[in-house]
Amino acid sequence: MKKKLLSLLMAGAMTATMFAGCGGSDGSDASADKADDAAADKADDAAADDAAADDSADKADAAADDSASAGGQKLTVWCWDPAFNIFSMNEAAKIYQKDHPDVEVEVIETPWEDVQTKLTTAATSGALDTLPDILLMQDNAFQKNVITFPDAFTDLTSSGIDFSQFAQGKTAYSVIDGKNYGVPFDNGAVVACYRTDILEQAGLTIDDFTDITWDQYIENGKKVLDATGKPLISMQAGECDLIMMMMQSAGSSLFNEDGTANITDNETLKVVMETYKELKESGVLIEVNSWDEYVSSLTTETVAGTINGCWIMASIKTSEDQSGKWGLTNMPSLVGVDGATNFSNNGGSSWAVTSNCQNTDLAYDFLKSTFAGSTELYDNIISCGALATYAPAGDSEAYAAPDEFFGGDAVSKKIVEFSTKVPSNITGVYYYEARDAVATAITNVINGGDIDAELKTAADTVNSQMQ
């Protein structure tokens, strides 16, 4: 115990001499010889793993052309959601292992917020060797992380992966300075889901909600409200998912190409804010307190529908007794805005290869043969609701199958089609700062604030945080 304490003390004293944040890279080798201390046998394991990884990297180099056939190879992956991302990754591993039985894929379940915390911690303390080979990243955080920690990621542009097969709006999230850093995975194309049985009571059908504008939506919404007393949509107060979806549907962003904030004189944003306010005031939209309450407003039939990324269907489908009562179509478009469409995106994520990946050839080959090359994979994972942004997958039979829950509609095919029409936008490095500031603005506007003044405040907040 004392000995261990001493070694830690030394390590502490050593690191104390380096200013925090300078990315002291010498830290790890200098203390490597301390690892012989028996108390930390786990540490020994870690060191041994490192050595093994080095070995296998050497082997891979030696067998350059046929890297994947080298024995005992392993990829570690960080991702979350056992029913979705982890399931998909394990399916991908199974497919890859058919041709490469020696390759092992170890998935370490890590919630997204923890992925972010660990990534930030590792990158700022110069301990990139604690990262896995592959990690899943929220699309909205991609620009931020790659630009802030360029050393932590591997450029995939020349990895042999064909990025042109993915929806362009989706790939754009992980392209930085013209280089590809991510393999697109799950689809966040926006869908509008409605309870057709409730619409019927107001004399409406799903067609009355297809290819419409927000004005028509509000008009229809009032009819539904009069006839049934149910609002059309619920949204989580203080979150601006709907605002962001509306923005992107017109190809508008909170940032300009040069990275400056585009908030104060953003005409689209003003229209979006006015639309949201009208939705709220007309009673067509109700705000709920939390995500749990949002989900429960769908399962308890408090509202007649919702608009969100297509992944919301999985939550809707938990109400098995509502099967056949739902219909799915595209979202309304903004009125009086250039480039307004009925398509948008919310959420979604992509795979990134870290700079700690010792066997990049294997990682590239793995991703190329699975998420960026196997329609079989996408057919297998459709059962969990994971929809492709990989265009060839949309042509397969599995995607054309009717979905009884949504009235026998071939919803999967529809969504893949939607996703190809989504205008791309600029998330920017400061996406989360801007998003929070706009969320504050919309909350104040709902409570009677002036739109221009609130947007000015939001812009000031973002500019100050960009310092």
């Binding site: 104390a16 200013f19 925090a20 930030t120 700022t124 203080g238 749990d292």
Partner: protein, 299 residues
């Protein structure tokens, strides 16, 4: 204990023994807290994002920046609102509960104690979900208030500035009162029960006993809990993140929550985050110093 007896024990040997006793703990705190603290302090004089850091210009830039940061000033106000309202209520309530539960004639003591303690053993995840469910638009609280005729229609508690703060306070009270009660209960065991029996024979009312015996004799423990609660509230994070996510419009965000956002949610600005952390240190230190001055007298 008297001054003269403690003076007697202060010979050199005992003095050294004292130092030896506290060395392991002090050494650990030095390594695990002070070294990182010094690094964070140095960091607070740096500007920039992620790893691209440069010395702040002027040197106190991060410190002056926070007073112009409207979100941060809002978070200071919120945090002090919680501190001023929640800590006194919680400590008094805990003290009352502890003195009731210390009564030897009381039945089912163990059961009551465990039930009142349980909230703080609950994992945060459940506590957050439960509270959000209780205060939802169609939640039980609204249901009761509407049925009693106090409200006409459900009130959206978490989307209004004041009620969101109040819910955080209720959450804190619910979760931490039992926790503080534990210290008082254990502190009460070091008071001879016969004192209470004597007071009873002398005809003292429970209220008199509480103020004349319980409070003075528990002073060291009260000081402990006061400092801990002050510290805990000024560093409040969990409730802000999980109950209200700082909303609506930053009306309930705490300082630590904002620091966390600045470090991990937003593009990391560690220099600024460290500077804000040191402001918290200064605030807690001042308050703790006052509390020590008032309550930490050996007599």
């Amino acid at each position: 204990m008297s001054k003269s007896s403690s003076k007697l024990s202060l010979d050199k040997k005992h003095n050294i023994t004292g130092w030896i006793f506290l060395t392991p703990a002090a050494l650990l705190i030095f390594c695990m807290s002070f070294i990182p603290m010094i690094q964070a302090f140095l960091l607070s004089f740096k500007m920039g994002k992620g790893n691209a850091l440069k010395p702040a210009e002027p040197i106190f830039a991060n410190y002056s920046r926070m007073f112009a940061d409207t979100v941060f000033t809002q978070s200071i106000k919120n945090t002090f609102f919680y501190l001023i309202i929640q800590v006194p209520i919680m400590l008094i309530l805990a003290l009352i509960l502890a003195s009731i539960l210390n009564n030897r004639q009381l039945r089912f003591k163990g059961l009551f104690r465990t039930m009142i303690f349980l909230p703080c053993a609950t994992s945060l995840v459940a506590y957050a979900i439960i509270f959000r469910t209780l205060f939802a638009n169609d939640g039980i609280v609204n249901l009761v208030l509407v049925n009693l005729g106090i409200l006409n229609s459900p009130y959206s508690f978490l989307t209004h500035a004041t009620s969101a703060k109040v819910i955080i306070i209720i959450g804190l009270l619910w979760r931490w009162t039992g926790y503080n009660m534990v210290f008082y209960l254990s502190g009460l065991q070091n008071i001879e029960y016969s004192i209470y029996e004597a007071a009873k024979i002398d005809g003292a009312s429970p209220v008199q006993t509480f103020f004349r015996i319980t409070v003075p004799l528990l002073k060291p423990t009260i000081l402990l809990t006061a400092i801990m609660s002050t510290n805990g509230t000024l560093q409040l994070f969990d409730e802000s993140v999980n109950l209200t996510d700082g909303g609506p419009a930053n009306a309930s965000i705490t300082m630590s929550h904002y620091i966390y956002n600045m470090s991990f949610k937003y593009v990391p600005t560690f220099g600024y985050a460290a500077a804000m952390s040191f402001l918290i240190l200064i605030l807690v230190a001042i308050l703790a110093f006052i509390q020590m001055k008032v309550g930490d007298k050996r007599d």
